[in-house]
């Protein structure tokens, strides 16, 4: 493996790791379920992609490479689908997202948002 690929792989792994932590920090800091979802999708997409890509660059055999690609495809396919289903279910069950009110302060949505 060339030097360039090694450095690129390390860079991807480190950035991916940082993104992973960022996503979880957001999961803790954000005020309600809907905003936390956005934080979660950071880890689902780019963090997973970068870490798996970093591993791909160091894959010892083609079969490992193939499996890493398949895992990435599955995660990218199922992640947003599950997220969408979750958000839809939450809205339908009557969970109100926090939205900026007249004063600019976040408050629970008052207009009906469909569902129960």
């Amino acid at each position: 493996m060339s030097i360039v690929a090694t450095y690129l792989s390390w860079a991807l792994l480190v950035i991916g790791g940082l993104l992973c932590i960022s996503g979880s920090v957001g999961l803790l800091r954000f005020p309600d379920f809907f905003t936390r979802m956005h934080a979660a999708s950071v880890t689902d997409t780019l963090a997973t992609g970068m870490i798996l890509a970093g591993l791909m660059l160091q894959a010892p055999t083609w079969i490992v490479l193939a499996k890493l690609i398949m895992i990435l495809v599955f995660v990218l396919l199922t992640g947003p689908t599950a997220g969408h289903a979750l958000a839809k279910a939450a809205l339908h069950s009557g969970l109100k997202p926090l939205l900026p009110g007249k004063s600019g302060v976040l408050e629970a949505d008052t207009k009906p948002s469909g569902g129960v």
Partner: protein, 157 residues
């Protein structure tokens, strides 16, 4: 035999070969048997159709995903910036956007692309509208500009 069955068959054979990586006579036999069994069950489940095997899209998909990757990186930077800001000061929004008719698979690609980009999540897809929750109001304007929709529409043809 439908063209979709054939394409699913090819996909399954590739999936088996990439997972297995063992090329022995016994594995050829078991692999063929497994693929045929899965095809049989899938056809009984009626999951083989143009929805699950969108062959008409395959030609233009790589270009679309390259563009989506660029969008992904940009919006990731934005969301990560928001996460680490000391004063959150969020301006989330929940907006329903009108949309012209898209095929079922087009809707799925569009909805999932929006969810995949951090900062926006699709909460509802109907025939003529799409509801999006965004971490920041500015993301809504981006969706309303319709670039992504136009790109999906081009795929869908």
């Amino acid at each position: 035999m439908k063209i979709q069955t054939l394409s699913l068959g090819v996909l399954l054979v590739a999936f088996w070969a990439l997972n297995s990586g063992l090329f022995k006579p016994l594995m050829y036999g078991l692999g063929t048997a497994s693929v045929l069994l899965v095809l049989l069950i899938s056809s009984r489940m009626k999951v083989i159709d143009s929805e699950s095997q969108p062959l008409n899209l395959t030609k233009n998909i790589p270009g679309y995903y390259l563009w989506l990757l660029k969008e992904l990186v940009i919006s990731n930077i934005k969301v990560v910036g928001t996460i680490w800001r000391s004063n959150l000061h969020l301006q989330p929004a929940l907006v329903t956007i009108k949309m012209d008719h898209l095929s079922e698979i087009g809707k799925v690609i569009y909805a999932n692309s929006i969810s995949l980009t951090p900062g926006t999540v699709t909460t509802e897809v109907t025939d003529n509208s799409i509801t999006v929750h965004a971490l920041d109001k500015s993301s809504i304007a981006e969706i309303e500009s319709g670039e992504m929709e136009a790109r999906v529409r081009k795929l869908d043809k």
